[in-house]
Amino acid sequence: MRPRRITNKKTGRLRGNATSLLLIFITTAFLALFVLLPLAAVFAEAFRKGSEAYFASFNDRYALAAIRLTLLTAAIAVPMNVVFGVMAAWCIAKFEFPGKNILITLIDLPFAISPVIAGLIFVLAFGRQTALGGWLIEQDIKIIFAVPGIVLATIFVTFPFVARELIPLMQEQGTLEEEAAVSLGAGGWSVFWKVTLPNIKWALLYSVILCNARAMGEFGAVSVVSGHIRGVTNTIPLHVETLYAEYSYVSAFSVASLLAFLGLVTLVAKTILEWKTKRKDKR
């Protein structure tokens, strides 16, 4: 359905009725209060003592270590979930087999689980108190309160993003183009690279951006498995928490502004990609 234009196209004057104007006002006020204000607060607090104090927050051993750890975690978790997501989407969208709906539900499972519980299950699996964890510590392999645990928890919470974005799209696209390519003699890989991938590239890109934003920003699950060792197992969100708890608000919000900026980039990317796919639909 076509939305109704509230302003006159030429003069720019309002021409809506009272109800529509009231609803627009409520929506704007609600979103401004609940969404824009917190975002503004992050940057206002970060720059409270000027830009020098802002940049000084990053000139710190622990802040840099946290940034490095977050980048490393995302660099492992995101590609793994991309490979899994594309493969899961391929077998679910292109083939018919029993139990498919159960598989889709299971892929969504990490979204339904509290981040704290997501962290807990890895502590239960690899913690010092378990047989496996005890054995690993004897071999000098640390998983909980160390980087591998952080990576595992991050993979868990970002697990569904790629598959969930690709499955509906690939189901809608069907298998005709791929079948044509195969009947013309193309092999599996060239079908994927030359036919499927160009069809899903924007959705894939978007899902990677979402997955990455969540991987870099995850707090609850990582907090449980990390142990909060400064400079060693603190990711950016955990470092923000540490700074905040120490009342170094300017530093906390400066480092947090990095993540808020990442969130903004994610939103912009989403808007651009939606616009791109919509234009393609119209053609």
């Binding site: 302003t7 609803l23 920003g217 969100p237």
Partner: protein, 276 residues
């Protein structure tokens, strides 16, 4: 005819992709989750009940479920208005509003947590005015409610938008031409047809709020028996190395989210049946 696991297809790669997907799913998600259930069995039934029904935990259920429910109700009302405005009208700044609806998804929870706390603390932008009127928001259950409203908002709006977009203008016009007032058209024609989507959005927001941790723990202040949410208690038990206790509470929370997921699936099934 011979029974086959999958229907015939000329496309390659089924075995490999399904194999990899199942292995990865099993190792990353199912195996660790099954450990949770396995660990609960180390507690006897009465020990389990003693943990999950202790006064501190019950207080946290009340806060978590109560605040999550209220937040989902507020989101259902304002989310409906927002979704309606964004699908029905064109006005300057609409694209921007539409884009920022997803902000609570995109912003890391810890960042929203400290930002909300700063705004609603007694010396914050909004908290200051409430403090003047003698009301505290941050470090009270109201703060928990505000954080949960923030994170639940996109669920309602994004589930309702496609549903409102699909509404047939002709049905509304028919109702009006038969003499229905605007209110009657809304209550009797529009609302019933988007009700499944509204219910789904509400339940999604509610479920997300139940498990939320990062955006709440800063603004709640974590006062024992007063502003402790259940997720925080799981965390606290873990810090005290009380694995059995943490597991027991987690199983209760998992049970709650499982019931909610079931409700969502049934609502969608019901809506599809209604369409046919």
């Amino acid at each position: 005819m011979k029974w086959k696991f999958k229907q015939h297809s000329v496309l390659p790669g089924f075995g490999m992709t399904l194999g990899v997907a199942l292995t990865y799913l099993g190792l990353i998600v199912l195996l660790p989750l099954s450990l949770l259930v396995w660990n609960t069995s180390s507690l006897s039934w009465s020990e389990f009940l003693k943990v999950v029904c202790s006064a501190q935990i019950v207080a946290s259920y009340k806060l978590t479920f109560g605040a999550s429910f209220l937040a989902a109700v507020v989101n259902a009302v304002f989310g409906f208005i927002a979704a309606w405005t964004l699908t029905r009208y064109r006005f300057p700044g609409k694209k921007l509003l539409d884009a920022i609806v997803d902000m609570p998804f995109a912003m890391p929870t810890a960042v929203s947590g400290i930002a909300l706390t700063t705004i609603y603390a007694p010396n914050g932008w909004i908290g200051y005015w409430f403090a003047k009127a003698g009301m505290k928001i941050a470090y009270t259950p109201i703060g928990v409610f505000i954080a949960l409203t923030f994170i639940g908002l996109p669920f309602v709006v994004r589930t309702l938008q496609p549903s409102l977009d699909d509404l047939d203008k002709e049905i509304e016009e028919a109702a009006e031409s038969l003499g229905a007032t605007k209110w009657q058209t809304f209550w009797r024609v529009i609302l019933p047809s988007v009700l499944p989507a509204l219910a789904t959005g509400f339940t999604l927001a509610f479920a997300r709020a139940l498990g939320e941790y990062g955006s709440v723990v800063f603004i709640s202040g974590n006062l024992p028996m007063k502003t402790e949410i259940t997720a925080l208690l799981i965390y606290t038990k873990l810090e005290q190395f009380d694995y059995a206790g943490a597991t027991a509470i987690s199983v209760v929370m998992l049970g709650a989210s499982f019931v909610l997921m079931l409700i969502i699936n049934m609502t969608q099934w019901y809506a599809r049946k209604g369409k046919k």
